[in-house]
């Protein structure tokens, strides 16, 4: 299993690092500072999908310590394709860890804060959950949505992380 740890070189003020992930045809960005680890995962080692436990919960790994969620399904973008090259984002928050399956982690980019923008008011106010929190003007036409994966969780999903995702 390929495993590497991202270098946290994010500067304090003017730039942030983003991990660009692909789910289907959608590219999204996650702050690199929130990503504990990014690894390629051999899906044959997991019993996928394990829908009996929870619709978005795919499996547990590491002796059931790490709940893994299908990020595409959590975000309402459809299920991850479960390709051999699927990757796992491991995110840690408040000493709890959760894994998020994505089709592919494309690259890590450094972005100036000037290139980021707020979501339009109408979108921000109508969000069902605050998973999308900002946007990056990648080019004059392309926009990448910044997401905070743990903000996708319902209370029920958080409960799974609290019960199983302790360090």
């Amino acid at each position: 299993m390929l495993d590497f740890r991202l270098k946290n070189t994010e500067a304090i003020a003017e730039v942030i690092q983003l991990v660009l992930v692909e789910i289907g045809k959608t590219t999204l960005a996650v702050r690199a500072s929130n990503v504990k680890r990014l690894q390629q995962i051999n899906l044959n080692e997991l019993e996928l999908p394990n829908r009996g436990i929870h619709p978005a919960l795919s499996a547990y790994v590491y002796s059931n310590d790490l709940p893994i969620f299908d990020l595409g399904q959590l975000l309402g973008l459809g299920s991850t394709n479960y390709q051999a090259e699927s990757q796992l984002l491991i995110i840690e928050q408040a000493n709890r860890r959760a894994g998020f399956l994505v089709d592919q982690a494309q690259e890590v980019v450094q972005v100036e804060l000037d290139e980021l923008d707020l979501l339009p008011e109408l979108v921000e106010r109508s969000r069902l959950r605050p998973a999308a929190w900002a946007l990056w003007r990648k080019s004059t036409k392309d926009i990448i949505i910044l997401i905070e994966p743990t903000e996708c969780f319902t209370i029920e999903e958080w409960q799974i992380v609290i019960n199983k995702g302790s360090r």
């Binding site: 109408l122 979108v123 036409k141 949505i145």
Partner: protein
């Protein structure tokens, strides 16, 4: 004719002149209000109108970025010459059946009271000018959603134009 009666006569004339000017002013105001212009656009088989003053631009439907975990009516966001605009699909809100969008589809960027959005139109046809007295109250037959979000209807030769109350739509959607 005495000096006093001449003065009275002048006052009469002046009063007439004042009344005439006041009446002309009111008439001019009425004349500017009697005609209203609406941008006519189609959703499914129905035609809707937006006040031209509320419309900022009309754009082709491309490069709309989806925003996860937003309601169905939020189609996404788009960058229109540097302005990040929310693109909304009001068909569901108006109870209109979804049809696949074609090359005729456009984004109508419209705003009212500081709130702006790009509204999906299956087709944008023309700007129509109507006499205000032609605008009738929303019909009961429009149904609950369309009635709630319309400020009137205009019967034209070949179609009925439902005038949308943009303020009411955007105010409801942002909650």
């Amino acid at each position: 004719m005495s000096e006093e009666s001449k003065e009275t006569a002048n006052e009469d004339i002046l009063e007439k002149l004042r009344r005439r000017n006041a009446a002309q002013g009111a008439s001019n105001t009425q004349r500017s209000e009697v005609r209203q212009r609406f941008l006519a656009f189609r959703l499914d088989q129905e035609w809707f109108g937006l006040e031209v003053q509320q419309v900022k631009e009309i754009s082709r439907l491309d490069n709309v970025t989806r925003v996860p975990l937003t309601p169905e009516y939020v189609m996404g966001i788009t960058n229109l010459r540097g302005n990040i605009t929310a693109v909304i699909d009001i068909r569901g809100v108006l109870g209109i059946e979804y049809q696949a969008l074609t090359a005729q589809a456009r984004i109508i960027v419209a705003g009212v009271q500081g709130l702006e959005a790009g509204i999906i139109a299956e087709q944008v046809k023309e700007v129509v000018e109507v006499v205000k007295s032609q605008i009738e109250p929303p019909l009961l037959t429009l149904g609950h959603e369309r009635g709630k979000y319309s400020s009137g209807v205009v019967q034209q030769a070949n179609r009925m134009l439902v005038i949308l109350n943009l303020n009411s739509i955007l105010a409801d959607l942002k909650i």
